[in-house]
Amino acid sequence: MRDLSLHILDLAENSVRAGARLVRIGVRADARKRIILTIADDGCGMDAALLERVMSPFGTTRTTRKVGLGIPLMAQNARLTGGDIRIESAPGQGTVFTAELHGDSIDCLPLGDLAGTAVSLITANPDGPDFLLECASPQGEMTFDTREVRAALDGVPLNEPEVAAWMLEAIREELEPIFGGVIL
């Protein structure tokens, strides 16, 4: 994984598979360059045993093979910066994934194309879940909510190429002043 946005894309797919109706993706950077990533869903959640397994590279819900690297790779990249990850989950309660990274560490991955990640997730799942992107830095903050887009489109699917192009530009435009050249 070359940047944080790719990790987010990968991890948010877990929320989709958990049957979430709303997936909230948060990227917040503070003045001390501490970066908090959150992926919170209202999906099926995990019991303690599964929670322990997903932290291990040898735990996966797949039946075709024995490795699952998404969470372990993210954990490694967070720890390299002096940060860590945390997962709170319970059956029926949804899951909140949090990663804390230190942006001033030389090992901190760049943020990457967050708008590309959001649009990939949205167009991969045109019938839901809905996604709420919330970003903030000392430079400002933004939110992007697919529930608003869905309502405005009134029946036109979110994976129409023209809609995807619009969302990509809309999100990029709003992210630019918040993260543009600031995080790494």
Partner: protein
């Protein structure tokens, strides 16, 4: 600044296209991009967005882009399957955003798969 009002215009324009597609689904083409951990790490996201962009620019109303998980050939990612009506599935491997233009122009528009990018060509090496 992008506004929600623009979405209304997009809605009007695309509704016609969607209805066309519903009326005649025998012509529908599907592009499926592998987007599991392996695909994403290998660069599937820019490939997927590249297809979206190219299809949008060319106004290809009969093409849909979707995503799938890992099919177990992680070393060949990013992989893309193209389904054309009445033809066998074509699987492209080691895709890049640069290759997308040729696949759209030659295969999706003109119906001739780009053989050198396919899984068959990769396996023969």
């Amino acid at each position: 600044m992008k506004s929600m009002a623009e979405l209304e215009a997009i809605r009007q324009r695309t509704l016609q296209r969607i209805n066309l597609r519903k009326e005649d689904d025998s012509e529908n083409i599907r592009v499926v991009v592998g987007m599991a951990t392996c695909g994403i790490a290998a660069g599937a996201r820019p490939v997927m967005l590249g297809f979206m962009d190219e299809i949008n620019k060319r106004g290809l109303s009969q093409v849909t882009v979707s995503q799938t998980g890992c099919i177990g050939m992680c070393r060949l990612e990013p992989m893309v399957d193209v389904y054309m009506p009445g033809k066998e599935k074509v699987t492209y491997v080691h895709m890049t955003p640069e290759k997308v233009g040729r696949v759209v122009a030659e295969h999706i528009v003109n119906g001739r798969p780009v053989t050198e990018y396919t899984i068959g060509a990769a396996e023969d090496k």
